[in-house]
Symmetry: C2
């Protein structure tokens, strides 16, 4: 046990923390969602889609990668409901799933003092 000036308050905070800790399952979901947006290749896709919906070819162009790599990343983003897809003829058109996505990115940019 520690012995600092605030030992008692910390112990209470720890007890509250244990009591209010989200379930493993919720923690895991959150972690997976954040992991989905924590790769440069995927962030680029999100910043690209901020300009509007696009099909895979144009996303590939916008982010400067290969069709295969982009498709793999699109799948991860879609599985995590970060983006959504709809088919249009031979193409599949992707767009951001909802307003939360850019809101989170904006907050993070604010946190880092970088404007975009």
């Amino acid at each position: 046990m520690p012995n600092c000036d605030h030992e008692e308050e910390h112990a209470f905070a720890a007890a509250r923390a244990k009591m209010n800790m989200p379930k493993e399952e919720e923690i895991a979901s959150l972690a997976t969602a954040f992991k989905a947006i924590s790769e440069p290749s995927r962030l680029k896709i999100l910043f690209a889609l901020r300009q509007g919906e696009m099909c895979v070819y144009h996303i590939t162009e916008a982010v400067g990668s290969t069709q295969s790599a982009v498709s793999h990343q699109l799948r991860i983003l879609r599985d995590n409901h970060i983006i959504k897809a709809r088919r249009d003829g031979q193409n599949v058109v992707y767009s951001l799933a909802d307003a939360h996505v850019m809101a989170v990115l904006s907050l993070a940019c604010e946190h880092l003092n970088c404007q975009f």
Copy 2:
């Protein structure tokens, strides 16, 4: 080149995306920051610190891990300015760096429809 109903708009969106794409450096910073909060072990620490500042011992208790593992994770969170530290005698007391952190977590929980 694709050939869907919206080819032209997508091409324009792709052009805008290229023009407005954040620099590699900014993308990397964002990715690193999100990566910092995308592990269950680190998320637990953040949810623990939501209850107030705590020293390492109590954080370890609150999240149910080992001192070494927690220390390694605290370092990652601190390096990314997600949490801050101050020494108090033999102890080091950790707390959330700023309001952005919980704001991002709240948004994400909202996105996942999980209350915490």
